[in-house]
Assembly symmetry: C2
Homo-oligomer: 262 residues x 2
């Protein structure tokens, strides 16, 4: 696969030095990562429709890699929880990552519509005084009550994200009696205000889950989390919805299209 | 801060039951996360210009939280490597996360221009036969040589990302003698082809770093990594650059604007 493969084919004369051994280990690890990245794309995009990866020897031939490199690549995918090894069957795809759109401002149930039912467990909901940075971003006086909502969101019953939401109370009050268990906040905001949402400023980060968040999301402590901070505005520009969302990294991908010119 | 704070203020009569203690612990952990999210936004956006957070008691007053909640929130930020506690000084900001634009297709040096110098350590570079999934996406015959490049990218000397890149050889050959150490591949592609890049399909994920990638990125094993897969096309639509990029989660945020209507 990589040009470096050729180096492995010419180990030189005599016993390998320690430096040569180290170089070879590094090269194999590099090649394993390279192969793992190609396989992970395929398995996340349904490239193995039967749900089973080809045999190691087939992969070795297809990717011009050594059996050791193939094994190490599969180890990487297994450590990520994307595949499992079943005796007598081979390596099977166990990952189920759902694509969250990154091109349009969409609620979770909207963007995952084709993939199943989103349900929301409301952990906390009620008016609370806005801390200064929340008040500033939502354009309300500091200390004014805002609606605070904390939800654990599931797709087909599996925990997907933990969402912390702040909404100015004049707009949020209408949500207090709404069906938050089964409806995106975005949809409720548009339904109760009779206005369309406009745009949102978003920031994405990868963080390790703290113990408490991991427990809530039913993920291992330290699991990689895709963290989304989003400030959503109505079409007239008014900020109405500040959110801090922790997506389980093993269940969500964000996909979109970027253009070179604006 | 949260409406749930009120519950803590009314612990009820007599000795707390085990269930009540558990509820209180959960509430405090929820409140700590909520506070940590607000503080993390501020510290990542330069909200503490002196680089020092206010005293715990000030934070407790400002955020209407208990001292215990404040302490727990600061613990979360410390575990993420965003702040440190210095005896006699207090809690200081140590995070340095750089904002990668998510609105336009940009190379790393372009998007981080204001933040310093991007340098690239070329770990591997040369022609290699394209594995089937690479060939398919780059529209070259399977097994045809493509240019493969592996780079460790640094900002002001600090490791930021590990990039694996595939480019069709008719376009990539011109890059073999180019100054890859100091120039984005995007810029080189536009300079050598005389054509503009058009768009890219991107996918973002949060993953835990495998041991080898962590070593290369000088990050702890299992550190959260922001993984970007990007297929970039020339303005005429031809795919010319397939990349697999691992950003250190503690050094990069991705920021952009989403619109409700397309």
């Amino acid at each position: 696969m990589a040009p470096t493969d050729r180096i492995r084919d010419h180990p030189g004369q005599g016993a390998p030095t320690v430096a040569a051994q180290r170089t070879r280990r590094r090269l194999r690890a590099d090649q394993a990562r390279q192969l793992a990245d190609l396989l992970r794309h395929q398995l996340l995009t349904g490239g193995f429709p039967a749900g089973t990866l080809p045999h190691e020897s087939t992969l070795a031939t297809d990717y011009r890699a050594s059996r050791n490199t193939v094994r190490q690549a599969l180890d990487l995918l297994r450590a990520e929880g994307l595949v499992q090894r079943l005796p007598g069957v081979g390596t099977v795809v166990v990952a189920q990552k759902y694509p969250h759109g990154l091109d349009r401002l969409m609620g979770l149930a909207e963007t995952l519509r084709e993939h199943g039912d989103v349900t929301n467990e409301v952990r906390t909901m009620g008016p609370a005084p806005a801390p200064a940075p929340v008040a500033e971003r939502l354009h309300v006086p500091p200390g004014a009550d805002v609606l605070y909502i904390e939800r654990l969101r599931r797709l087909n019953g599996l925990p997907l994200s933990l969402d912390l939401t702040y909404i100015p109370l004049d707009i949020g009050a209408a949500l207090l009696g709404a069906d938050l268990e089964n409806t995106d906040v975005f949809r409720l905001l548009e339904a109760t205000t009779g206005r369309r949402l406009g745009h949102a400023e978003i920031t994405l980060e990868a963080v390790n889950a703290d113990a408490h968040s991991a427990t809530v999301l039913e993920a291992p402590r330290g699991a990689a989390v895709l963290m989304l901070e989003r400030l959503t505005h109505l079409a007239d520009g008014r900020p109405v919805d500040l959110e801090f969302i922790r997506f389980r990294g093993d269940r969500i991908t964000m996909s979109g299209l970027l253009h070179r010119s604006l």
